[in-house]
Symmetry: C2
Subunit: 196 residues, 2 copies
């Protein structure tokens, strides 16, 4: 829908507080009154946009991932899929993380409806550790470390691209794309006892 696209663009660019209903209306080529006719309030419109953004940001356990048996293969494919998603939606991390920090109450309902279920992955990692093929550590830390390596480069792009790539956008895009492979290499050296 055209209005939702305009709203998404503006909210992601400016945040909830910085966004203006007028600007959303302008970009959608309608006027403010019609915007309120459809969505009643700014908060309401934002909630629609944010819950969509949050569900995209939350790792999706697609069937391709669930069919894998070893944590090693799971991690490899997860990194590939998740960074691949972020390459298409590079502004998601800051938007979602920022709004969650400003208003943590939102999380409750969002988590309930998006059905994030970390127990299965934690169990898969624990199994691999028991088999001795993976370093012993808190499985939750394994997950957070992997997500850190996937997400942070997108969230810190304005700073990192400027400091390390002389603000060259193409070069930084290439760096991000290569991470689909290099993050797995980094993680597997840190985690797996035997290399295949």
């Amino acid at each position: 829908m055209l209005i939702l696209n305009a709203a998404r663009d503006v909210f992601i660019e400016k945040g909830l507080d910085g966004a203006r209903m007028q600007e959303i209306a302008n970009r959608a080529n309608i006027n403010k009154a019609l915007l309120h006719y459809y969505f009643t309030s700014k908060e309401n419109l934002f909630d629609e946009i944010f819950s969509e953004a949050f569900s995209q940001f939350s790792p999706q356990l697609k069937s391709e991932l669930l069919n894998l048996t070893s944590a090693q293969e799971f991690i490899r494919l997860f990194i590939k899929l998740y960074i691949g998603m972020l390459l298409k939606r590079p502004y998601l991390p800051i938007f979602v993380l920022n709004e969650l920090q400003r208003n943590p109450v939102r999380i409750e309902s969002l988590l309930r409806q998006s059905g994030v279920e970390p127990e299965m992955i934690v169990e898969m990692i624990r199994l691999e550790m028991d088999q001795g093929t993976m370093i012993q550590m808190d499985p939750r830390e394994v997950i957070i470390n992997i997500m850190s390596l996937c997400i942070f480069p997108f969230a810190s792009r304005p700073m990192m691209q400027r400091v390390f790539w002389q603000n060259n956008t193409e070069a930084f895009d290439a760096f991000l794309a290569k991470r689909v492979d290099s993050v797995y290499g980094f993680v597997s050296r840190a985690l797996f006892v035997e290399k295949k």
Copy 2:
């Protein structure tokens, strides 16, 4: 200064757009007019707060760090100092990263005055790679991976604490504190060919 403390609290909590001059004045126990008397405009006050926040967020190369010769010892101490700093200022990452993304123009002047000089660290890492004690990879990626592991858990706290620690604040604090050591372990397994 009392006013600056109040301003810092409100800006970090609400962001530039969400902050209200009235609230800053209230928390400082003065009134709005006096706030404008001292700082002229909200933008101006924000700039003072943000440049201070940015310089704290930017890794400081203190003498303790510069005296170290091996990248291994440098990385160990860097992680300890940087996570230690974040434990005292856990809201810095989201605040700085978010405002940088909303207004990337700010970076230029801030970087110039804060004198961030990554070349030396890049060279130190390169040297270690040439000696064969460190895996061959882009030194900039080494730095970004380490910073990812240090910073992201703070930025994603509202989500991660809720999902993996049943929103138990003390438990998550303990997890963060332990990372001073565990991040180094993770990184060194991923980077160093020989373990000491």
